[in-house]
C-alpha cells in the first residue's frame, strides 16, 4: 500500500487486489469498504448489500479462499490479497455445479441472498466435500434468506455435493 495524492484535503491510498484472477489497482479513501470497491469501482455488482453489519451475508466474498462479509472489511485491509466474487464462480458461461443445483432445486426466489449463499456453499464444499445437513445449515447460518425458508437451499447444496463427488 502506498499513499497517493491528497485531493482537496482528502487522502487517497493505492490498493492492489486480485479479483476473480484479474489484478486491479485503485486509489481509495481509508473508509472505502471492500464491498463498495467491488460494486462501485469495479462494477462487480453481483455482490449484494443488505444489513451492512455482518448479519445477513448478502455481501459474502472469498478473501484468500475464506468467506467473509465484504461490508465489514476495509478495501485497504484486502491489499495484496485474492478475492473471489460470485462473478468468478462460473467457468465462462458454464455455470458451476452449485449454481446449477440452486436452479434445479428451486433454491432461488427473489435471488437477493443467492450470491452470498453460493459463496458460502462453495467455501463449504471446498473444505468439506461430504457435509451433513447440519454442517450445511451451519455453513449458511450467516446468510439470511427472506424467501425460500432455506429447505431448498439446503437440498441444493447437498445435491451439489453429491454431484461433485460422482463427477470425480
Amino acid at each position: 500500500m502506498q499513499m497517493t495524492a491528497e485531493q482537496s484535503g482528502t487522502k487517497y491510498h493505492l490498493v492492489t487486489i486480485t479479483v476473480n484472477g484479474d489484478p486491479y489497482t485503485r486509489a481509495v479513501k481509508a473508509n472505502t469498504l471492500l464491498v463498495n470497491l467491488l460494486r462501485d469501482d469495479l462494477d462487480l455488482t453481483g455482490t449484494k448489500k443488505g444489513c451492512e453489519l455482518g448479519d445477513c451475508g448478502s455481501c459474502t466474498v472469498h478473501l484468500d479462499g475464506k468467506p467473509v462479509n465484504s461490508c465489514l472489511v476495509l478495501a485497504l485491509e484486502a491489499d495484496g490479497r485474492e478475492i473471489t466474487t460470485i462473478e468468478g464462480v462460473s467457468q465462462g458461461s458454464e455455470l458451476d455445479t452449485i449454481q446449477k443445483s440452486f436452479l434445479e432445486n428451486t433454491a432461488v426466489q427473489c435471488g437477493y441472498c443467492t450470491p452470498g449463499m453460493i459463496m458460502s456453499a462453495k467455501a463449504l464444499l471446498e473444505r468439506n466435500p461430504n457435509p451433513t445437513e447440519l454442517e450445511v445449515r451451519e455453513a449458511i447460518a450467516g446468510n439470511l434468506c427472506r424467501c425460500t425458508g432455506y429447505v431448498n437451499i439446503v437440498k441444493a447444496i447437498l445435491a451439489a455435493a453429491e454431484k461433485q463427488n460422482k463427477e470425480q
Partner: protein, 289 residues
C-alpha cells in the same frame, strides 16, 4: 451505510504501532478484524480520527505449544483458526468449541480473539473460558511489555486496563493440572446471537474428588465474573449430582445480572444455575470439551 472519514495506518512493527497510537491519542484505535469497530462506526456509536491496522503482524496469527507445555495464542488469531488449531484441539478443545458457538462463519473468518477481549463486552464468549483456563495476556506499549492474568483485565462494560499506546499481542495458557473445562452459552438463536448467559468451568479431578474448580460467568455482571463462593464450596468434595445442583444454585446467587432485551435478571440467574451444573458435569466426566 458509509463509514465516516478517518486516517488509516498499517505499521510494519508492533513498536511502531504503539508509538503511532501514543502520538495520535484517544481518537485512534487498533483495527484487527474490524467486525466490531467498523459496525460501531457505521452506527455512530464510535467516532475515530484514525485506525491503526495490525494486519502486518503475521507472528500474531500463530498458536504454539512451547517446550514447557504452555500454549501461546496470538492476538490476531481468528475464531475459525481457533477452531482449526491442532494444538488447541489436542490440549484445550473447550476453546475450539467456544469459538464454534460464536457469530457466524463469515464473522469467524475475520473476527479475532484479541478483538473479542479488548472489546470488553460483558456477553463476549471467549473471556469466560480463557479466564477459567487461567489465561494471561501480554500487553506491549511504548514503555515495554507487561503480562497480567486475563481475570484482572476487565474493569467494566467496554472498559479494561489496556492503555492508549498498548497492543494486546498474545495469550499465554500455562501448563496446569486441570483435567477438564467447558463453556456453555445460552443465546436466543443458535447462530449470530450474543449470549443471554454463558458459563465456563475448569476443574481438576482426583478420582471422583474435585480438587480445584474455576467457574466464570459471562453476560451476568459488568465484567466476566468468577463465582468464587461456588468454587470454594465444590473444591475438595466428592462429586455427586446433588452437590453440583447446589454449586449451580450458589453460582446463580453470586451472579449480578441485569434485565434487557435478551432476558430478565431472574431468567439469567436461573440460567447460570443450570449452565453451571451442566458445564461442570461435562468437564468432570469428559475432560476439556
Amino acid at each position: 451505510m458509509y463509514l465516516p472519514d478517518f486516517e488509516y495506518y498499517a505499521p510494519a512493527t508492533v513498536n511502531e504501532a504503539c508509538e503511532l497510537l501514543a502520538k495520535l491519542g484517544p481518537g485512534a484505535k487498533v483495527l484487527a478484524g474490524g467486525t466490531d469497530i467498523l459496525s460501531k462506526m457505521k452506527q455512530d456509536q464510535l467516532s475515530l480520527d484514525a485506525v491503526v491496522s495490525i494486519k502486518n503482524f503475521n507472528q500474531l496469527t500463530e498458536i504454539v505449544e512451547n517446550d514447557k507445555g504452555d500454549v501461546i495464542i496470538g492476538a490476531r488469531v481468528t475464531h475459525n483458526s481457533l477452531i482449526d488449531s491442532p494444538v488447541l484441539q489436542k490440549k484445550y478443545p473447550s476453546i475450539c468449541h467456544t469459538a464454534h458457538q460464536m457469530a457466524n462463519n463469515q464473522v469467524r473468518n475475520t473476527g479475532t480473539i484479541g478483538g473479542n477481549i479488548v472489546n470488553a463486552v460483558p456477553s463476549a464468549d471467549l473471556p469466560p473460558i480463557l479466564i477459567a483456563l487461567g489465561a494471561q495476556v501480554k500487553l506491549v506499549g511504548t514503555g515495554g511489555e507487561r503480562i497480567l492474568p486475563l481475570e484482572d483485565f476487565f474493569t467494566g462494560p467496554n472498559e479494561s486496563v489496556i492503555k492508549q499506546d498498548e497492543i494486546l499481542t498474545e495469550f499465554i495458557i500455562e501448563k496446569q493440572s486441570l483435567t477438564g473445562s467447558n463453556y456453555l452459552k445460552f443465546a436466543l438463536r443458535r447462530s449470530g446471537a450474543l449470549a443471554v448467559a454463558g458459563v465456563a468451568v475448569a476443574v481438576a479431578m482426583d478420582g471422583n474428588t474435585c480438587t480445584k474448580a474455576r467457574i466464570v460467568m459471562g453476560a451476568v455482571a459488568p465484567t466476566p465474573a468468577r463465582a468464587k463462593g461456588a468454587e470454594q464450596f465444590l473444591a475438595g468434595k466428592e462429586v455427586t449430582d446433588e452437590l453440583l445442583e447446589e454449586v449451580g444454585n450458589r453460582a446463580a446467587a453470586e451472579s449480578k445480572p441485569i434485565s434487557d432485551i435478551r432476558g430478565s435478571a431472574e431468567y439469567r440467574r436461573d440460567l447460570v444455575g443450570v449452565l453451571t451444573r451442566r458445564a461442570l458435569k461435562k468437564a468432570i466426566s469428559e475432560g476439556h470439551v
